[in-house]
Symmetry: D2
Subunit: 281 residues, 4 copies
């Protein structure tokens, strides 16, 4: 019985790069983290230690910085496509090249209500993400949002679920719904402007989240996904990961006080973890 | 030669609490984390295991949730004062009670440009902090900001420093200045409105950071502190911790390219760490 | 054009549980974190908010604690199988139930060279993991190791790789090889004793890592995998993720000193990330 | 009313360095993280941006790597003393130089029961720490342990504490006592061998923790400290921070099961936080 390599990938992760793009009246400051991952016929790298087809991860890193000068000028999606194309066309040994980019957001400071030309404040934990997967056959482009922490204080219930001997949860028509979600969508056609497409889709997702009469996390997850597919014909499918950030009513009754959905214990663990992918049929 | 207890403190940390404050037209959502720390004559707790003067940390936690219902209605400073006062006046064995509160910020979502009545998005990593230290003699109130991540792309240099045999740093008149700072100030008189005082002081700090012609981190740190003391007579002293978030020019010359302060490596470690406290004489 | 749910899963993550198993002469202390994930026909949960087939994640959590009393008595693999079986047999709406368990390791303290009967010290960041995937057709059992941080100071080189215009890495026959790896293997037949199988496989992996003359990370990854498949016929396939923890020689020459592979900069990011799965043909 | 600088410090943190010390039969692998902090008369750095007395943090970093070649040959305490002495004697503008070193522990792998000559496995999260504070007047040397995660399953109770209207905690004579502690001690005379002193003191701390009949965290904290002061005349004072890692009995009664101190919920937050310093009178 033989033993063999079934799958493999290698690359450089967390290539942390920032860029100042100097416009006439202000500086645009961008900060990204890039992952490069290469796949191909690397059997003898593994079995014989033959590195003749290996592009070192150190070189991958250098390439990201070097190409950023000319090619990281607008969206992370376009820079990712450029990187994937570069690695793929220069390395015939590859069957797949995957570029993932995470953008840390910075906002221009406001001074007397106007954006400062060269001072910035962090946009917080929320990040804009993209992944570009280039293979011989096709290129897949996804965009998305990571660490989007959102919450609603009402219009969320959870009732009529299965009860068994280990059930202690009380049914409720009014609870806090909070989630630190990651959402990504696959384009079936590239938008004319990746950045504005991103912002339009993000706004749609937030609007549905805010206004939905939620009967469960799944119910809202689906409504958010459905609306994006309805409104944006360029989107082929969309996936959401919605880990709960639980806010549990504190038992004030033990001190003869009422808790009218006012005071909550915020907990990180354990947490409900709900995921779904919605597609066009 | 005897052995004895020199100092001690105990309490509950990370009491994570959220509250919905229901206004006529919208819900106000607040999320805080509270630390309680008690000091006093606890010699025999340590030496004999005599717990008769010990208010359990579990009870401290319950107290925070219970008092939040009536008393966490506006600023974290006022809620902290309430908590410190409660523990101090009910526990004569204490010499000191310190309450630290960290507020996680939430912003109301915008729907068609208007704030949503009950949906929120995280305000990011930046947090509003306070510490209240109640002793027999006095009460000390500080307010501050934690994880304030700010950056400027120009108006920052570093020159004319000591050179020795281990110096490799190049002098520069134009570098990125980024810091994830923590700033706190001690009030000499309590402001009429803690929340608006906080916002005014924060705005002042950001304005100085953005506009200062910085000759070093220390230089900007001092300018920020000085301006706060000049503008706000209620502030007695102010302390800043300014760890650098370095953005180091990537060497493009090795690829025969120029780097005109465009492309940087963003690094977390090692990092410069600059701190200072500025007072009135 | 219709829109529909393509895939979905939900469950409770990070159910953190500890147990004291009281033996005659000593206490066995165990600490685990359990993830439960359920899949099935949950279309109407998403589209209609119909929760009639939903076992709440809160109930899943309670079930883990309740079943631990009788059934978490030996290996995490056996407890995982018990949990998967419980959820699967009581919930006909499921097509799949996945249980993941991470065990935090504790070692009994040594007192005068002998294990203390009831005092423990953490076994560090390394964790023993398992995942059990129960479907109508089969049950898949994997065991593995997470956060296994290992290093060798020699017998590792990297040469004869592709050079292009962005190459700056120097070839080397002697470098530090360090990785914080995650390794998991799929059983084709369940071992008689999961715990001793785990320890035997772990020892084999470490022995190969220590003694291998490494020509690349991939080369050592494969050697480790191959040896496990050769020695353990119960293992069907094995996957390794080997992120580099780089230790980069510090340039002492700039101070007229030699660095004979002595002094290194330890960095976290960016990092090489190498993965592979090895199977029987 | 004037405004002035009250205190200030600056330096480089997280200088991450590893070293291979090549012995005849094996390699010794060491990994440390160094913080340098300098204080002195830096008034005009702050007020005028005059850098003429500033040793850049970048140079501090270089110095740590350069001096490590000759001087990091045994204990972190001795290397710290060397660094403090170097910065202090070469920079007359300083009033204080503080060096903090954290050592990440590595154990040689065992192969057939014998230590491997050049392969290592992480010693876990526990770290050996030191701080050296050099001023004109004196040098203070502390050693210690960080992230020491220890636990006992019995011989720990908590009773006869204050009850008030917010008390819900039940008295117990038998609970889990777990803490992730940081302990440091100040030497009044330097030991002949810092490393063996460290190991002897650590062993003493663990022995007391394991065997103590604990009536509270404070009670055990003091017993640990007292024993170190009794046994080691070179120790002047010792400080312990003992954050609780709570393991709370899960309520099995709600499912008509008994929980005889068997099944616990492991929680991270909120947590009791107990600190104390014990000295010679």
């Amino acid at each position: 019985m033989a033993i063999k390599l079934a799958s493999n990938a290698y690359g450089k992760n967390a290539v942390n790069l920032s860029k100042i793009i100097r416009h006439k009246d202000y500086h645009e400051f961008r900060q990204i983290s890039v992952n490069v991952s290469l796949e191909g016929d690397f059997e003898t790298v593994h079995t014989l230690g033959d590195n003749s087809q290996v592009l070192p991860t150190d070189t991958q890193k250098n390439t990201v910085y070097a190409l950023a000068k000319e090619h990281f000028v607008s969206s992370i999606e376009e820079f990712g496509i450029c990187l994937a194309s570069h690695f793929f066309s220069n390395n015939p040994q590859l069957s797949k090249c995957k570029i993932e980019i995470t953008e840390h957001l910075w906002n221009r400071m406001l001074a007397d209500g106007r954006p400062h030309p060269n001072a910035y404040i962090s946009g917080g934990a929320e990040k804009h993400i993209t992944s570009i997967t280039q293979s011989r056959r096709e290129i897949e482009i996804t965009s998305g949002i990571k660490d989007l922490l959102i919450l609603k204080t009402t219009d969320s219930g959870f009732e009529k679920y299965i009860k068994d001997k280990y059930t202690t949860l009380k049914e409720t028509t009014d609870r806090i719904f909070a989630t630190n979600c990651e959402i990504s969508w696959l384009y079936q056609t590239a938008p004319a402007d990746f950045t504005s497409a991103f912002h339009d889709i993000r706004a749609t997702l937030l609007n549905v989240f805010g206004d939905h009469k939620s009967l469960s996390v799944q119910h809202t997850l689906y409504a958010m996904a459905e609306k994006v597919l309805e409104k944006f014909s360029i989107v082929k499918e969309i996936s959401l990961e919605m880990p709960n950030k639980h806010h549990i009513p504190f038992n004030l009754q033990q001190f003869d006080m009422e808790n009218n959905n006012e005071i909550f214990i915020a907990t990180d663990e354990p947490y409900g973890y709900i995921t779904g992918t919605v597609i066009r049929d």
